[in-house]
Symmetry: C2
Subunit: 193 residues, 2 copies
Amino acid sequence: MQDILFDFIAKYITLTEEEKNALLSLGLFRSVKKGTILLKEGQITRESFFVLKGCIRKYYIIDGDEKTTAFFTEMEGITPHCAINNAPSEYFISCIEDTILTVSNPDMGAEINAKFPKFEIMCRILSEELLAKQQINFDEFKTSSPEQRYLNLLQNRPDLIQRVPQHQLASYLGIKPQSLSRLRARIFEKEKN
Amino acid sequence: MQDILFDFIAKYITLTEEEKNALLSLGLFRSVKKGTILLKEGQITRESFFVLKGCIRKYYIIDGDEKTTAFFTEMEGITPHCAINNAPSEYFISCIEDTILTVSNPDMGAEINAKFPKFEIMCRILSEELLAKQQINFDEFKTSSPEQRYLNLLQNRPDLIQRVPQHQLASYLGIKPQSLSRLRARIFEKEKN
DNA sequence: ATAAATCGTTCACTTAAGTTAAGAAATAAT
DNA sequence: ATTATTTCTTAACTTAAGTGAACGATTTAT
């Protein structure tokens, strides 16, 4: 199971056995059931999450209903905003599947970084990549209609459409569930002809 | 003029005179006229831009028309995606006002970082802040209607509404210029009553 | 100073998303 | 297994955005 993590890391840096053991000794791994809430609005955590297997979701509750703004699947992670600025979280994070993830805090990060400077490098690369991806996603979102956004998603993350409930997908696309349903029917009609 | 930059840096780290001089010796500063295009689609640059005074804008040309996705004003900067992954740029960057900015490349960054490790720290903080801000903006965009987005902008960056042409603002809000015009009229009507 | 180009607003019309409600289908709970 | 809950779809109606076009107003170019 930890191999998943090591395979991922291997894409960026090469680890010795010693380094792998140091990582394992931190007790990062956690297995959580579908439905578990990892972070609640108003709560402050110092923990970062990284998904090895499964899917977690970030959502706000605005005027009583959920607004999903992100999904994290295999090899994707999130450091909640509240872990950075020590303010109460504005959003929730919950598991939409049984999920295996690593949970880390800044102290663990510091410990590892001090022992193995390589890690710092990997973290820098990862955060650069993340920022770039984030910006492209945002641009794509802004410049597309809901229908285009759905078609993009179908192209780029077809797995999400399978594994995520549609009303959550809808708000991820910035629309209401009924609109997504209609939009899908519309696309299906077009395809038939 | 360089004081603007040093004042900004002072918020994060303290610089000695020696360090300031080292920075100045890189010849970072550039003054550009309104309308200048700093980066074109298809072009590859290694340069990053940081605005000291003025305003620059990032836009795509999709099906022949411009889609503005970001503005950068005082104390905001952008490292074009193409400078990171060495691929042709997908977008343009141009000045919408006479602008004073710093232009840097990775080599200059490396030079400074090697001489003064403090810089690395500042860069890490800045990029963390940026990522966080970016994510919040994205979430806000996704969970709002065009009208709410306009009202948010009026709250958070009222200057932009003054200094940016409205058809560019419109695409920044994800709508057409005519819709922005109408939406503004609508808000104005509501306010009257 | 004048002509040309760009920009902002308005209007009529079209298209798509929001809303409310109802019912079928699928999931979860007992 | 049956009930309860949640999820998805459909429909009718409302509201807002997209589209195409016209017309001043403003800015830019000459």
